[in-house]
Structures are given as structure tokens and as C-alpha cells.
């Protein structure tokens, strides 16, 4: 029997006398989660919540101001927790998924360690070097585990470090430049995550991860350009514009090759937003707003029409 989808059932039931009972039976047998998937799901669900809650419990425990606790005990406690977790990961026989989740928990604990260090020596909780230290010291785990959620933590940390660095250390970076930097960094990670599976044939990184990276990168470039349009900053703006044009081009090409509707939606939409911002910069009278609303409808419709045509081609 060919794979039956929910849509098929809906469609067939609309044009037949398929009884409620049979539909229910088909749904339960073919579509709904069965015992095995429930098992897998519940295990993941519980372990994630379990480790998530336990780690946050530990975070709050140390966030509480323990004036009586000597600093060696404080730091020692966290360090031994980290060591125990890593030892479990290294030497126990639990499944790889669970080890990865444990390692993600340990990576968060490294952050706690730095936070407590900052608390003791009064370096501040949002100093960029706190995040920098955290990022550096989990890098090896990230690379070895190659676990998408841990990668997500890592990339988020790098983004945070960069943003804080630009705010706290250097004062003369323009906003456009910061967004250019963030755009490039996230694009680099995206490229690596796409190329990695090609080169080494390793297990594919999940699609939500690369899509999230692409979304972040495209948003950064769009925000940067829109700011640039209104701020009229010269050089960095043109650099960003050039990089964006090149990378968007590559992105569209990749989207067509990988048959990814996602890339082919976010890139055109970002271009539409940029052009609309440019139009407002040209003139902000009533006629222009009216024109923009027509332009958005027209261009989005055009993009959708092309997407539908492409989908038809991909299916056949």
C-alpha cells in the first residue's frame, strides 16, 4: 500500500461514503503516533525536561547569594558537577542521544561556573568576556558531539558575545557594520553545516537547524540594510549591500538545487522588505505608501506563483 497522508483521507472522505469508523481506523493505523514513536518521544521529552529543570535548579541555587559559602566550595561544587556529568558521558553505556543531551546540560553548567566566578570577583553578569569564556570552553564539546541543540547554544553564545563586544568594548563600530558581521558569522555557520554533510558524509544536521541559521542571517542582513538606507552611512553600507547581493544569489541558487521552498521564500521576502524601505526613503507621502502596498501584494504574489510552479516541477 502506498504511503497514505492525512490530506488523502480528508479528500477521499469528502467524495465518498467512507464511514466515520473506517476513517478513524485508517487515521489511527496510518497517521497517528503508534507505540514505538510514543516511546521515543516520551523518552526524549522526559530527559530534556529532566535535564533542563535540574540544570536550571542548579543555576538558581548558585544565583542565590550564599554569603556563608566559601568561594572554593562554590566553584568546587560546580566543577565537580561538570566533571561527574562528563564522566557519565564518557564512560557509561547510555544511548548517544542521551549522552548528547547530558553534554548540553554540562555546557550550560560551564556558563554557571563563569557566572559564579563573575559573582565572586565582581566582573559583572553581562560582560562580554563572560560569554566569550563560556563559548571558548565548550567549543571542543560542540565539535565532538556534533549535536544540533548544542550547536544552537554555541551559535547563540557567539552572537551574544559579538553584540556585547560591540556595545561594551568598541564604540566606533556603526550599527550597519555590526549587522554585517553578524550576517557573515551566521552565514559561515550555515555554510559549514551544509557543506559538512557533503564532504564527510556525516549524519545530516537537522533541517530546522540550518533553516534557523538561514533565517537569522537573512534577518541580520535585511535589518542592517534597512538601517543603512535610513542612516545614509557610506562605506559599510555598500560593503553589506555587495555581500548581501552575492550571498542572496548563492542562496537562491542553493534553494533551487536543494528544492528548498524555505530559502526561496525568505530571501525574496527580505528583498521585498528592503525595496519597500528604500521606497519610503525616496518619499514618504501618501502616494508612495499606496504604491508600496500594491508593490508588496504584487511581488509576494509573484514569488508565490513561482514557488507553486517550482513545486509542480519538483513533484514530477
Amino acid at each position: 500500500m502506498t504511503e497514505i497522508e492525512r490530506e488523502d483521507i480528508q479528500l477521499i472522505s469528502r467524495h465518498s461514503n467512507l464511514s466515520k469508523k473506517s476513517i478513524d481506523k485508517i487515521l489511527k493505523e496510518e497517521i497517528y503516533s503508534n507505540k514505538e514513536t510514543w516511546h521515543k518521544f516520551l523518552r526524549l521529552f522526559f530527559i530534556c525536561l529532566g535535564i533542563g529543570f535540574t540544570t536550571s535548579g542548579i543555576i538558581f541555587f548558585f544565583a542565590y547569594n550564599w554569603t556563608d559559602l566559601h568561594k572554593f566550595i562554590k566553584i568546587g561544587l560546580i566543577e565537580s558537577l561538570i566533571i561527574i556529568t562528563v564522566l557519565i558521558v564518557l564512560f557509561s553505556k547510555i544511548s548517544l542521544d542521551i549522552k548528547n543531551i547530558l553534554l548540553t546540560g554540562a555546557s550550560i553548567l560551564v556558563g554557571v561556573l563563569f557566572a559564579v566566578f563573575g559573582q565572586i570577583y565582581q566582573t559583572g553578569a553581562n560582560a562580554y568576556d563572560f560569554f566569550l569564556g563560556w563559548t571558548i570552553f565548550i567549543t571542543i564539546w560542540v565539535a565532538i558531539s556534533n549535536f544540533a541543540p548544542l550547536w544552537l547554544v554555541f551559535v547563540t553564545l557567539i552572537n551574544t558575545t559579538l553584540i556585547l563586544y560591540s556595545q561594551q568594548v568598541v564604540q566606533d563600530w556603526s550599527e550597519v557594520f555590526v549587522f554585517t558581521l553578524l550576517f557573515i558569522v551566521n552565514m559561515l555557520f550555515l555554510t559549514v553545516s551544509i557543506l559538512k554533510e557533503k564532504v564527510s558524509g556525516e549524519t545530516k544536521s537537522p533541517i530546522w537547524f540550518s533553516n534557523l541559521l538561514a533565517l537569522a542571517a537573512v534577518s541580520y542582513s535585511a535589518i542592517g540594510i534597512v538601517i543603512g538606507i535610513f542612516d545614509k552611512s557610506e562605506t559599510p553600507f555598500f560593503v553589506l549591500l555587495t555581500i548581501t547581493i552575492i550571498l542572496y544569489g548563492i542562496g537562491i541558487k542553493y534553494g533551487l538545487k536543494a528544492k528548498s521552498g524555505f530559502y526561496l521564500s525568505i530571501i525574496p521576502f527580505s528583498i521585498i522588505v528592503i525595496i519597500s524601505a528604500f521606497l519610503i526613503e525616496l518619499s514618504d507621502d501618501a502616494g508612495m505608501f499606496f504604491f508600496i502596498s500594491l508593490f508588496v501584494i504584487g511581488s509576494v504574489t509573484l514569488v508565490i506563483k513561482n514557488l507553486i510552479n517550482l513545486q509542480k516541477k519538483w513533484i514530477n
Binding site: 502506498t2 497514505i4 483521507i9 480528508q10 479528500l11 477521499i12 469528502r14 467524495h15 465518498s16 461514503n17 467512507l18 466515520k20 473506517s22 476513517i23 478513524d24 487515521l27 497517521i31 497517528y32 503516533s33 507505540k35 510514543w38 516511546h39 518521544f41 523518552r43 522526559f46 530527559i47 525536561l49 529532566g50 535535564i51 533542563g52 529543570f53 535540574t54 540544570t55 536550571s56 535548579g57 542548579i58 543555576i59 538558581f60 541555587f61 544565583a63 542565590y64 521564500s265 521576502f269 521585498i272 522588505v273 519597500s276 505608501f289 499606496f290 508600496i292 502596498s293 508588496v296 501584494i297 509576494v300 504574489t301 508565490i304 514557488l307 507553486i308 509542480k312 513533484i315 514530477n316
Partner: protein
């Protein structure tokens, strides 16, 4: 076309298992498949048309604000009604994906103009909201286009919430959450009944499903984020009652699917889950997100599952952020819940191993 052939095979296999009493209009089915092939929508396309529609609406409202056209109440009203009617008519006449962006923008602008027109005419706010609600419901009856129905559902729930908030009846939010939880559960658990009930309902099923999830989320956000509205924190458990009952019912279903039969195991599952649920008594937002996750996984609905997971993460962080306990108490609560989940994890793993042995 390969696809049509495989669909035909699918139909044949159903015919085989159903026997002689099965009748279907094969021509209509294949015809609709063909039409669907030309109009196949993906999540990307839906999101794109919604975002595009809203962006265009914003620009259009900007245009109105600058020209000062909003000074003529009658003009606003006429244009508003005109827009809404054309959006519904367009969708009724041409059920095609490519007009979605356009119809969303005139539908949403239509509602905005309509509301502004009536407001300028000094109509009572409640009456305006009720009128919008009625229009949205009628549009559901007239056209079953995915996007328009989805927006109509959101409009209806936004109207209800506005009614509650603008009349200072904040505690009614619990009723809103209770009703949307029950509706959502009914919708998910009775899929077969609903889609076989009538053609219209079958087409409305998907937009209502996602619409109700978002509507429930609206309500959960309002009670999940403290100080967003002045609801009494002492009554917050009111929303939890039905949510917890629903979860227990779902656990009962899941236990059945997973064929947990030994009394000892059942007791363990129910008592651990009850302990966890009790700890969420004062945070219905968290248990509400659990309802979304369990229901979505039960019927294998991926978008819902993703929404549920993102929202539970948000609600949990928001809850602990808002808690007024000392950090130490928070830490103990979190740690204990963590251990409870780890126990459940061990239980499921042990159970799995046990099954493998058999």
C-alpha cells in the same frame, strides 16, 4: 502523472478493505487531486502570504493615515465593508493560492476600516467587536479557504479577548481558556467524526486546528505573563482545573496506546504525572502548552508540536522569572521537578528494555 496513479492505487486498496458498501466519486477525487497539485501549498507559502498580506495592510493603513481619508466616517465604513465583502467573494469564486496575499490584505484592512468608521461614528465599542465577530463567523460559513478561515478564527478569538479586557471582566479569561482547551481537545480527538460530518467542516478542519492552537496560546500568554492584565493571581488555578483534567484524560489514552497494563506501572505513571501536574497548578500556561504538545503528538501534527515545544520553553522561563520566591526556593522546586522527569525517563527506558526482552 505518477502521483495520480499512486492515488488511484490508494483508492483501490481502501476499496478492497472496505468491501462492497464503499462508494466513492472517483472522478471527483482525482479531479480534486489534479487541482490540488496545481495549488499545493506548503507552510512556507502560507507564512509568506500572511506576512506579505500584513505588510501590505500596514503600508495601506499608512497611506490612509497620511491622506487623512479617515476623516470621513461614512467613507471608512463603506470601504471597510466593500473590502471585506470582496475578500470573501474573491475566495469563494477563485479558490486559488495566488490571490491569498491580496485577499488577506483587503480582509484585514477591511476590518480595520470598518472598526474605525464605527468608532468615529461613536458606536459602542462592544457592539463593534460583536459585529466584527459575526462577520468573521459568517465568512467561515461562506468560504473555507485556508488562510481566510485561519484569520477569521484568530479574529474571533481576538474579539472575545478584547471584549473581556475592555470590559474589565478579567477573570472571564479562565472561561476563555477552558472553552478553547475543550474545543481544541474535541477537535483533535474526533478528527474522523468531524471530517466525515460535512464537506465544509472537512475543509475547515485544518485552518480551525491551527487557529485554535494560536487562540489558546493568546489566552495562555495573557495569564502566563504577569502584569500583562490585572487578573487576580489568587484565582489563577481556575484555568488549571480543566486543563489538568484534559491532561489526565490524555494520559489515560496514552497509557492505552502504550499498552501499560501492570497495575504497579499504572500507579507509578499516574502518581508521578499527578505530582508534576500539581506543581503546575498555579501556572496554567505551562500545562496548557503540555496539552498542545500531547494532542499534537497524539495525532502526529508536526506544526502543532513545534508550537507547543517553543511555547512550553517560553512559559516555563517566564513562570520562574516571575516567581516571587527566593532563588533558593525556586532552585529547590526546579531541581525536584527535574528529578521527577528523570524518574519518568528511567521508567520509560526500563519499560522499553522490558518489552525488548519479551
Amino acid at each position: 502523472m505518477d502521483k495520480l496513479i499512486s492515488k488511484k492505487a490508494l483508492l483501490d486498496s481502501i476499496r478492497l478493505s472496505e468491501g462492497a458498501k464503499f462508494e466513492c466519486n472517483e472522478k471527483a477525487i482525482l479531479e480534486e487531486y489534479k487541482k490540488q497539485g496545481e495549488n499545493k501549498s506548503s507552510l512556507a507559502i502560507k507564512v509568506l502570504s500572511i506576512f506579505g498580506g500584513f505588510l501590505a495592510t500596514l503600508a495601506f493603513l499608512g497611506f490612509l493615515a497620511i491622506t487623512g481619508l479617515y476623516n470621513s466616517e461614512l467613507g471608512l465604513l463603506i470601504f471597510g465593508i466593500g473590502f471585506i465583502v470582496s475578500a470573501i467573494w474573491l475566495n469563494k469564486k477563485y479558490d486559488k493560492l495566488i490571490i491569498d496575499t491580496f485577499s488577506i490584505s483587503i480582509y484585514v484592512s477591511g476590518f480595520t476600516l470598518f472598526a474605525f468608521g464605527l468608532l468615529e461614528m461613536n458606536f459602542d465599542e462592544n457592539i463593534i467587536i460583536l459585529l466584527i465577530c459575526i462577520i468573521a463567523i459568517s465568512s467561515l460559513i461562506i468560504t473555507q479557504n485556508f488562510i481566510l478561515s485561519f484569520i477569521s478564527i484568530l479574529t474571533i478569538s481576538a474579539c472575545l479577548l478584547t471584549l473581556i479586557i475592555s470590559n474589565d471582566l478579567h477573570d472571564l479569561i479562565h472561561l476563555y481558556i477552558t472553552v478553547s482547551t475543550l474545543l481544541l481537545t474535541y477537535l483533535f480527538l474526533n478528527e474522523a467524526k468531524i471530517i466525515s460530518f460535512s464537506k465544509k467542516l472537512s475543509k475547515l478542519y485544518n485552518p480551525i486546528r491551527i487557529g485554535l492552537i494560536i487562540s489558546l496560546l493568546f489566552g495562555l500568554i495573557i495569564i502566563g505573563k504577569r502584569h500583562l492584565t490585572p487578573i487576580s493571581q489568587n484565582n489563577i488555578w481556575l484555568s488549571s482545573i480543566v486543563i489538568i483534567l484534559v491532561i489526565i484524560y490524555l494520559i489515560y489514552t496514552i497509557v492505552k496506546i502504550n499498552e501499560i497494563e501492570a497495575i504497579k506501572n499504572k500507579v507509578l505513571v499516574y502518581s508521578l504525572s499527578s505530582l508534576i501536574l500539581l506543581s503546575t497548578l498555579f501556572s496554567p500556561a505551562i500545562s496548557g502548552a503540555i496539552v498542545i504538545i500531547l494532542l499534537s503528538f497524539l495525532v502526529n501534527y508536526k506544526t502543532g508540536l513545534a508550537i507547543g515545544i517553543i511555547s512550553i520553553t517560553y512559559f516555563i522561563s517566564q513562570y520562574y522569572y516571575d516567581l516571587t520566591f527566593t532563588l533558593l526556593t525556586k532552585s529547590i522546586i526546579l531541581f525536584t521537578s527535574g528529578i521527577m522527569f528523570l524518574l519518568l525517563y528511567l521508567f520509560t527506558t526500563k519499560k522499553a528494555k522490558h518489552n525488548e526482552k519479551i
